[in-house]
């Protein structure tokens, strides 16, 4: 079990002594999203917003917030950030704005609190600038996506499994255009939820859920992976497998 480092032996709050920790190059990326009405998003994208350029303002707000993190979070060390980058992407599927904030430094402690603060304040700024035209905005999905450097090493949100995922039968992920077509990022299923035990049987089950799913999952180009390795429909699935379906890749 991991210990809470911000508590001393008596259970009192303390600032962790990092004097003896090695100086390493560290980065952290956090994300957040602001879900809004499609009309509000259009206003932002087309620049017709009464308060001006929402994205540029939120980007600056995020950067400034990262520098203020130790003043807001009681046990957080003041850090000499070497870089703060805040990216705001309009996403018509949400609909809303997706925010990614990356902080970087060479130091003795991690920068995830700075990245989270930057993403959160950028989201708050989007909210502030749009609240006059949309009162149903929702700020959410705030988490650390990726961290590099330091004792815990490099990790991404997706690479860490939660306790419930470890118990769940199958974790199924969808990517890119297929994710948008199905309208879902991921879902969990038990092996008993469908008949058969292969990847092909799982696909048949997913296709039977909705007509629309049947159409999108029937593409001859559909690619599949089990535990992050390309797989064929004949592969047998077992407890705890991570399955993914996605369209042909287009990187490079």
């Amino acid at each position: 079990m991991n210990q809470l480092t911000h508590l001393n032996a008596q259970g009192e709050a303390r600032m962790v002594d990092v004097s003896d920790k090695k100086i390493t190059q560290r980065t952290a990326t956090a994300c957040a999203s602001v879900t809004m009405q499609a009309n509000t998003l259009n206003m932002i994208v087309e620049g017709g917003h009464p308060k001006g350029d929402v994205l540029a303002t939120a980007r600056i707000a995020g950067i400034m917030a990262a520098k203020r993190t130790p003043e807001l979070i009681p046990l957080c060390h003041p850090l000499m950030l070497s870089k703060v980058e805040v990216e705001l992407q309009p996403d018509a599927q949400l609909p809303g704005i997706r925010i990614h904030a990356t902080c970087k430094l060479a130091g003795q402690t991690g920068v995830e609190m700075e990245a989270l603060t930057a993403a959160s304040v950028a989201a708050l700024t989007v909210y502030d600038m749009c609240k006059a035209v949309d009162k149903r905005m929702v700020i959410g999905n705030t988490y650390v996506e990726e961290k590099t450097g330091g004792k815990s090493g490099d990790w991404t949100y997706a690479s860490l499994k939660s306790d419930t995922q470890q118990q769940a039968g199958l974790q199924i992920n969808f990517f890119a255009e297929l994710r948008e077509q199905l309208g879902v990022d991921n879902l969990s299923l038990e092996l008993d939820d469908f008949s058969g035990s292969t990847l092909g049987d799982l696909l048949t089950h997913l296709k039977s859920q909705k007509q629309q799913w049947h159409n999108h999952l029937s593409s001859p180009n559909l690619l599949m992976a089990v535990n992050q390795q390309m797989a064929k429909p004949s592969q047998t699935l077992k407890e705890g497998d991570e399955v993914a379906f996605f369209p042909p890749v287009t990187g490079g």
């Binding site: 990216e87 997706a158 390795q229 996605f246 369209p247 990187g251 490079g252």
Partner: protein, 154 residues
């Protein structure tokens, strides 16, 4: 000594610096080949204003490792670096970098070519292009599949 460095990142990179990182302090390297891919302002549709790259975290790194291993089996490499960006980019921004180093040029040239061909067909990255006439997901090209297939019998 063989140095392998693979990274998926949001940030931009500098090809010159990356080449230097690989070749610096080395006297056993006779050739370095680098390939840099950039965002174009036209593709399936004209007037591409930006591009968003999505990937499958975890699997991407593993797929790139496997491609690198395969290249190291086929050619005598002294080192290689693969960098691939994700997130939002604009025309003119670099997306991908492959640097290969070897004692003689042919190994570095062929390995770099091979890595790009397989990266384009095996690594789970997807591009969405934003154009003045709307957003769309880039479709895969048969020419990329053919380029990768030519290595099968070699």
């Amino acid at each position: 000594m063989n140095q392998r460095f693979i990274r998926v990142q949001r940030e931009s990179f500098d090809t010159g610096k990356e080449v230097q990182l690989l070749a610096d302090q080395r006297t056993d390297i006779g050739a370095v080949v680098s390939f840099t891919g950039y965002v174009r302002d036209f593709n399936e549709k004209p007037e591409v204003t930006a591009l968003t790259l999505e990937h499958y975290p975890g699997m991407t790194e593993q797929a790139l490792e496997q491609i690198a291993l395969e290249a190291e089996k086929r050619w005598e490499l002294k080192g290689l670096r693969i960098l691939h960006r994700i997130g939002r980019m604009e025309p003119g921004d670099p997306i991908v970098l492959v640097v290969t180093a070897s004692a003689h040029r042919q190994d570095a040239f062929d390995a770099c070519n091979f890595i790009m061909d397989f990266l384009k067909t095996r690594a789970p990255f997807w591009k969405k292009e934003h154009t003045t006439s709307g957003d769309y997901w880039v479709s895969s090209r048969t020419s990329d599949a053919q380029a990768a297939a030519r290595w099968e019998n070699n």
